[in-house]
Structure formats: C-alpha cells, structure tokens
C-alpha cells in the first residue's frame, strides 16, 4: 500500500473510531436509562418506608432531561476536561478512574502477557516438536481450561493467595491456542523455514529471526484480541474477588444507577476495544 493510501485508510479508521466511541457511549446511556430497573431504588424493598416518602425519593432521583440532551451535555462537559461527578460515590469520575484504572490495566496486561506466552509455548510444543505426546498434552490442557469459567479459576487462585493474573492468563490462552497453532503450522511448512532448517540453523535462531519476523504482524493482531479477551475475563474476576478495578466500579455504578460514571466507563471501554480492533485492522 502506498503512503497516501495508508494515510487515507488511517484517517477513515480514526473517523470511524470516534463515531463508534460516541455511539457506544450513547448506546450504554440508552440501555441504562431505558432498562426496566433504572428507576428502582433499594428503598423500594423496605416495607417500613411510606408510599409518599418513596414517591419523594423517586422524584428526587428522576432526571428530567431527555436522553439525547443529557448525553449532549455530558459530552460537552467531557470535552471541557472532566467526566462529571459520580452520583452514587459523590466523587469526581476522573478521580475514581485514575485510582481504579491502574489495577485493571495491570491485571489485563499481566494476564495478556501470560496468556500469550502460555498459548505460544503450547502451540510451539504442538507444532514444532512433532511429538505426539506433547501435542496431546497441549490440546488436552487447552480443552480443559476452555470449559472452566474464568471466575472459578479466579476463586482457586484467590483462596490460595496466588496472583490473579494467572487466572486471567489461563482464561485467555485456550482462546488463542488454535490461532497460534495454525499460524505456527503455516510457518513451519513455509519454504523459507524449510531452507533454514536444512541449513542446520539452531531452533533459537529460527524462532527469533524467521518466526518472530515473519509473524510479527499477525502476532500484534493476536495480542489485540488477547487484550480484549483478558479484559472480558478480568471484569467478573474483579467483581468476585473484590479487586478495586474498573469491573468492580462498573458493577457499583450500575447498582447505584450512576449515569455519569456509567457513561464515562462506556466511553473509555468502547474506546479501548475499538482502538485495539482498529490497530489490528491497520496492521493487517
């Protein structure tokens, strides 16, 4: 592709990234606003509260702005440097995000790295060694971890006081194994690698010079997918193990019907997921 063509493609991807992020935020706000339980309060279940008090509480919590107006005002506020104030936690959303995001980022990054490493090692063992025993072990391990819910893995690690990033890695690697094995299998049969092996190059040289070089584009795309998978696994893990990250914050915000916080989380998470997909597409 020519530099001009690439620039045009990049510009179009960036525009679609912005549109998707804005639509994603709006979709989240609409889902929250029109969900059947948006207006309900914990006090609804308390029989000791009189109907008049309940009505007053509902009136106090009701947002009179129509959704598009709320969203437009919210976005305008966001562009002026802040995500507003959390209605359930009474703190600036930006401050909450600054405190919580590093926990999730670390969990996701470590889980992704672990998942990629484990998936690559098993894929290498299955393809490169040509050992039937290793292939069976790799496929069986993958199959085993594919059928265990990530939250159960997290509980095992949590009660044994082991790093939870391993649980994320174990949830991620089976979903990457198939793609990595196919990628390595194609490379293994390529004429360049056949020639390198025939020349007697060591496995380490072949791996670093030929495999990493030839598959770097696809590996970056797979890393993007791994990041999204790790994020998806990290959310229930954070909730169940009480880790103060973005996942736990999202649940807290949902339970507290906290629109500013939910919109901010939706915008950020949609940006994260879409940016990864866009980057993967551009690399491809």
């Amino acid at each position: 592709m020519t530099p001009r063509g690439f620039a045009r493609r990049l510009a179009s991807r960036l525009v679609s990234l912005v549109v998707i992020v804005l639509l994603g935020g709006f979709a989240a706000a609409a889902l929250v606003r029109y969900s059947p339980g948006f207006a309900s309060l914990p006090e609804d279940l308390d029989p000791s509260i009189s109907p008049e008090t309940l009505r007053a509480l509902h009136a106090q919590n009701e947002d009179s702005n129509p959704l598009p107006v709320f969203y437009a005002r919210y976005l305008a506020g966001t562009f002026h440097g802040g995500f507003g104030v959390s209605t359930s936690l009474n703190q600036p959303v930006a401050e909450l995000l600054r405190r919580r995001a590093p926990v999730t980022v670390r969990l996701v990054a470590e889980g992704t790295a672990g998942g990629l490493l484990l998936g690559s090692l098993l894929a290498w063992a299955a393809v490169w060694t040509r050992c039937a025993y290793l292939q069976t072990v790799a496929v069986s391990l993958t199959g085993l971890f594919l059928v265990v819910p990530p939250a159960v893995l997290a509980l095992v690690f949590f009660f044994n006081e082991a790093p939870l990033a391993i649980a994320v890695a174990l949830a991620v690697f089976p979903r990457l194994f198939g793609t990595l094995r196919a990628l390595l299998g194609d490379l293994y049969q390529s004429p360049a690698l056949l020639a390198a092996r025939a020349r007697g190059l060591s496995s380490a040289t072949i791996a670093t010079r030929y495999v990493l070089g030839a598959a770097s584009g696809q590996l970056i795309a797979i890393t993007g997918v791994a990041l999204v998978l790790a994020f998806g696994s990290a959310i229930p893990i954070e909730v169940i193990c009480g880790i103060p990250g973005i996942g736990a914050l999202a649940l807290q915000a949902a339970i507290g019907r906290d629109m500013p916080l939910l919109c901010a989380l939706a915008l950020i998470i949609t940006f994260f997921v879409t940016a990864i997909h866009t980057f993967g597409d551009l690399i491809e």
Binding site: G24, P36, G37, V147, P236, L251, V273, H277
Partner: protein, 248 residues
Amino acid sequence: MRRKLASAILILVALCALFAPAIAPFDYDRQFRESPHAAAGGQFLMGTDNLGRDRFSRLVYATRISIVLAPAAAAVSVLLALMLSRFSSLTTLCLSLPWIFLFIIMRALLPLDTGPFASILLTFALMGVAGWAWPARIFNASIRQIRQSGWLLQARASGMPSRRIALIHVWPHLRAIAVAQFRVLVPAYILSEASLGLIGLGVAEPLPSWGNLLAELQRPQAVSANPWILAPLGLLMLVMICLEEVSA
C-alpha cells in the same frame, strides 16, 4: 468413538433434565430446616445447602434450566444474525461495544424485585440479543462469497425468481453455517451464565442454575466439608467437553 460417547452423555444429561421432576427426590426449593449443611448420605445424595435444600435435586433442576435455555438463547442469536447480517455497519458497531460490560450493567440494573422466572428469561434473552454480531459477520462474509459465485450467476441468468434462489440455492449454504454458529454459541452461553451466576447476576434464587450453584464455591470451608459442592462444576465441565467434542 469419542464423539459417540460424548453424544450419549449429552443425551443422558438432556433426558435427566427433561425428566427432572421424576428423577429429583425433592422439589428444588423444599427446605429441610432441621438439617442444613447435611452430609451426603441416604436421604440426601449430595447433602444439603445452607438453607437445608437437597443438592442433588437442585442440580437436576439446574441442569434443566441451563441445558434448555442456552440453546434457546443461541437460536435467538443465530436468528438475529441471519436477519441483521446485511447491515454490516451495525454489525461492526455491535462488535466494537464492550458487551460483557454492558451485559453486567444491564443485568445489574434489573428491578430489585425481579422474580426468578423473569430473571431466567431476561438473562438468556439478553445473551441472545447481545451475541448476534459474531455470527452476523460470518453470515455477511459468506453471503458476499455466495453473491460472487458462478452458480448463483447461472441461476439468475436462467431467470429463476429471487425467492427460489434464496430458498433452494443460498439457504443450504447458510444452514450449515447457522448450525456451526449455534454449536459454538451454546457452550459459550452456558459458560456465560455460569460466570454471571457466580457473581450473583444470573438466575435469581430460589430457582437453581449451574451458575448460582457454583456460587457455593465461594466458601472453601464448605467445599472441604462436602466435596459434592463441586458436582455442578464437574457436570458443567463434562457437558462442555462433550459439546466441544460433538461440535469438532
């Protein structure tokens, strides 16, 4: 051989789920208040939970819910994917949305007094609606491929009406993809329900599902006292492995 064994196990589990009232010795919500945390034995095959409910009976009924509703949600997703696959921009948008995040939010936002049956239907309906985008992308790609095929051109050139082309020529191709997508989605939804149940956002009590039965794993002391608490996890893994084997 392995595939036949997996199919046989799945049929057996499905039959157990179908005839749950005949197999389970008690109702799923019957409480034996004099014997909470009872050990496994003659009266209670797998012991009782903290409310004195028979674990075996609850497992049989939970299997019924998970086994029946996950395929129903998968069918909804595939149907939606077939209907919406032509809107590729909508598919791209939906693929970019963080569905696990939105799903947790939507489930958490349900009214606090949502009944157990409504919670089942809403949980699986949300899964069905949320999961259509991946199959839609695959349908979209194959429809594009089919449009460029020589046989379709020939069918058009011979003056065949569009509806007949769609039913006789295109649908058999899409049907295979629909079945494959359905097989992929069923285990995914079973796992999703289990994860949601574990964090308390799945099927509401007192109705049992594999997800809310797994929530007992959060008490490790109880697990060491009665290892039958692990039975739902074992059954879930067995069914998932069999589904993978049958889909392979």
